[in-house]
């Protein structure tokens, strides 16, 4: 396999949900990127993108995670993450939060520097699918996954990170993979960060509709680029003893005969 990533140093942003609950996703990202020649580093100063705080209205807690993110990744040319939602937050919200931080009259030079660094870092932060296609120029990562799969395009991947059809192009290049269309694919699954506990009844109603559509495809796996969404309808599928299994895009792309 050729190694378009040769000589590239990539910072792996695992995200808190994956770090704590789904380590196989960041692990898969490391597998794929190293196979493509990248040097992958996990800076331990990283914590979380902070969107659960920011999106609930707690901007100062969000700002604290902007600092951990900048501290962890400032030295990298590329940051890659298995969550388009968290990358979306880095791009859209980190500069906004840093700017709020500089808004006060006692903003220090340090705060203003943070805004600059957050802005520049946002431009170097990528969702896995973007990094593979746009930076490494790879669509076929050499993966083999002989199963029936349906793809849920997450809202933030589409409308915040704007990854478009990149995940689908990557999936179509996987050997043996049979892709089945998901009805109503573009409708939100009802996770919504703290929405799922602040509005539990609506969240469950939305997740049920999503689960219903997933089951109707008859797929073996439902794939998405974000474990938070997979955890939402996956939790419902598990409760209902459905046979279809949630899986992260990175885990499929990491599957190869050689490993």
């Amino acid at each position: 396999m050729n190694q378009p990533g040769k000589g590239m140093r990539v910072g792996l942003f695992a995200t808190c949900v994956n770090d704590i609950m789904f380590p196989s996703a960041p692990k898969a990202v490391a597998t794929i990127l190293e196979r493509l020649g990248c040097e992958v580093i996990f800076p331990t100063a990283q914590t979380c993108c902070g969107q659960m705080f920011t999106n609930t209205g707690y901007f100062s807690a969000g700002l604290a995670t902007v600092r951990t993110y900048v501290e962890a990744f400032d030295g990298f040319d590329y940051v890659v993450s298995p969550s388009a939602s968290c990358i979306g937050s880095v791009r859209e919200q980190h500069p906004m939060l840093a700017e709020q931080g500089t808004g006060s009259t006692h903003a220090s030079r340090h705060d203003r520097a943070l805004l600059q660094r957050a802005r520049r870092l946002a431009e170097r932060s990528y969702d896995l699918s973007e990094f593979l296609i746009d930076i490494l120029g790879v669509v076929d990562v050499g993966a083999v996954f002989p199963h029936k799969v349906t793809y849920h395009p997450t809202c933030h991947s589409l409308r915040v990170a704007h990854v478009g059809d990149r995940p689908l192009r990557l999936l179509r290049a996987v050997r043996g993979l049979q892709l089945i269309d998901l009805p109503d694919a573009y409708t939100c699954c009802g996770f919504g960060g703290t929405f799922c506990v602040k509005n539990p009844d609506v969240s469950v109603a939305m997740a049920s509709a999503k689960a219903h559509n997933i089951i109707a495809t008859g797929a073996d796996y439902v794939v998405a680029g974000d474990n938070a969404c997979l955890m939402n309808f996956g939790g419902l599928l598990h409760r209902d003893r459905a046979s279809v299994k949630p899986i992260h895009l990175a885990e499929i792309l990491a599957e190869s005969r050689t490993s």
Binding site: F22, E34, T47, C188, D201
Partner: protein, 525 residues
């Protein structure tokens, strides 16, 4: 009910028009509670699902026909922004041109003032009943109830508004106020109520749409012919000519703005557009976005008084009611660009599940959750809950013809709501959790306590040791909000950072040095 309500709430004969549900909208339960109530109504969900699906599909087809749709949206956004930036100038220009054309202009700071102006004008016109063109701002200021209290009957003439009014109900949609009703329910309402307030429904009325429409037409006919005073809203107010524009589908509005002698238009101050040419943009965007039509059937435009033709006594009431407050907010003000097309609610998955009544607001759906808390302020619990009635999925962003960035405003309003909660004496669970978790996640050293603890939980419960994910099927309160219908994966026994550390210190540093994955790969029976 609420002691502060002065409204006549019983269906007794003392009333002139059907009584709406008791209580004030501001006193509605918070969104999660009201949503739960509405979710229990499966009839409602079916009606809504069918209606919004149809309208969404129609919109998508009609929008796809326009090659430069995105340019139109950008133009609309720019026109509205420029107008709002100089709103004071444009309003004065509109006022001057209205007066020049023979109209009377009135300014109302809030709902009570607007209602008083309308009541006085109606009384001065010497009538005890009026006919109405469908209008959102008159719902917002609860004009019908103010008129009722003053002994004037206000009759809705839009078919869906008539269904709502006769049904002792509230609108649940900006464009299709009776979207929550199906044909059978409408038939029952007509049979039951029409006779009490005018021409009764014909004998043997069925739920055939043509028959229902004919019954409504029959019921409204006398009212139209008797009416000497009418009210309208206004979709647009053109500043450089003083022209008012009403866009509608049924022709009832055309009757209301032409037949009576006195016409009172109640218009929100954000409805002004600078020039007649600007209408070109909006008249292309509005019908396609709202009803999915290339062009709406009736567009009425009038500029003050035309001697000997139509109403000779023309009034315009310009209403603020919280709009200048919204205008003062650099992020929130974009909500004032709204042209009330309703596209955002038609694509909103939350609106689609719960309908308009869950919002405790005249404006439901995405626009409601960003506009109402700005217009009414956030002192009522329901108004603080509205910005949270969103998953931030952004479906509304894609369709809004004036390109409102909903997530941006929602997060901004949540920030305000959170600050209010923090300032509250009463402790809030949310503030507590966000404070603690935010503190933990704000620094690597503290965050690793969390991963250490979660890994410990995972190891004790043996999560992922055999390559499978395990789940909690039950969680204690308040996590029941998750676990009532969903299982939750047990945290990984080896958090990623721990796996990485081990790998880094092991020779070779191959990714395969990481432990086998925790994903559930079992095949269930």
């Amino acid at each position: 009910m609420n002691a502060t309500t002065t409204r006549v709430t019983s269906r007794d004969a003392a009333r002139l028009t059907p009584a709406p549900p008791p209580g004030l909208l501001e006193d509605s339960p918070v969104f999660p509670i009201a949503a739960k109530r509405e979710l229990a109504n499966s009839q409602l969900r079916n009606n809504l699902a069918r209606a919004t699906e149809t309208i969404r599909t129609k919109r998508a087809i009609r929008v796809a026909e326009v090659p430069r749709w995105e340019d139109l949206r950008t133009a609309a956004e720019a026109i509205k922004n420029a107008t709002l930036r100089h709103l004071d100038d444009y309003l004065l220009q509109a006022e001057a041109n209205l007066i020049k054309a023979g109209a009377h202009v009135h300014w109302a700071r809030d709902a009570a003032q607007a209602d008083q102006i309308v009541v006085d004008l109606v009384k001065a016109s010497g009538v005890d009943e009026i006919v109405k063109v469908k209008s959102m701002v008159t719902q917002e200021i609860e004009m019908n109830e103010a008129l009722e209290a003053a002994g004037v009957a206000a009759w809705e003439t839009d078919l869906a508004e008539l269904i709502v009014q006769l049904g002792h109900d509230r609108p649940s949609h900006v464009l299709v106020p009776a979207i929550h009703r199906n044909r059978a329910e409408i038939r029952d309402i007509f049979v039951e109520e029409m006779g009490r307030y005018g021409t009764p429904a014909p004998d043997g009325l069925t739920d055939d749409p043509a028959e229902l429409t004919a019954a409504a037409r029959q019921h409204l006919r006398d009212k139209f012919l008797r009416a000497r005073t009418s009210t309208s809203g206004g979709n647009f107010l053109v500043a450089d000519t003083g022209t008012l524009v009403v866009v509608e589908s049924e022709g009832n509005g055309r009757m209301c703005v032409t037949l009576p002698d006195t016409l009172i238009s109640v218009v929100g101050i954000e409805k002004v557009v600078p020039t007649f040419e600007d209408l070109e943009v909006f008249m292309q965007l509005l019908p396609r976005s709202s009803t999915g039509e290339r062009m709406n059937p009736y567009t009425s435009m009038w500029t003050g008084v035309t001697p000997g033709d139509g109403p000779q006594n023309v009034h315009v009431v310009l209403v603020d009611n919280g709009r200048t407050k919204a205008l003062a907010d650099p992020i929130g003000r974009q909500a004032l660009r709204c042209i009330r097309c309703s596209a955002c609610m038609n694509v909103c998955p939350i609106y689609g599940h719960v309908g308009g009544h869950a919002y405790g607001s005249v404006y439901p759906g995405p626009i409601g959750i960003i506009l109402t808390p700005q217009l009414r302020g956030m002192s009522a619990p329901v108004d603080r809950s509205l910005p949270y009635a969103s998953t931030l999925c952004g479906a509304c962003v894609d369709v809004c013809p004036v390109k409102i960035n909903f997530p941006e405003v929602i997060v901004h309003l949540r920030h305000k709501a959170a600050d209010l909660k923090k300032a509250d004496r009463r402790p809030h669970m949310e503030t507590l959790v966000m404070g603690v978790v935010g503190w933990l996640f704000g620094r690597e050293s503290r965050y690793t306590w969390v991963t250490t603890a979660s890994g410990l939980v995972g190891r004790v419960l043996k999560a992922g040791l055999d390559g499978r994910q395990k789940f909690f099927g039950w969680l204690p309160w308040p996590a029941t909000r998750w676990s009532q219908a969903r299982d939750l994966p047990i945290p990984a026994s080896q958090p990623f950072r721990r796996q990485w550390k081990k790998r880094s210190s092991s020779p070779g540093r191959t990714p395969e040095g990481l432990s086998s994955h925790d994903r559930d790969t079992e095949v269930r029976p």
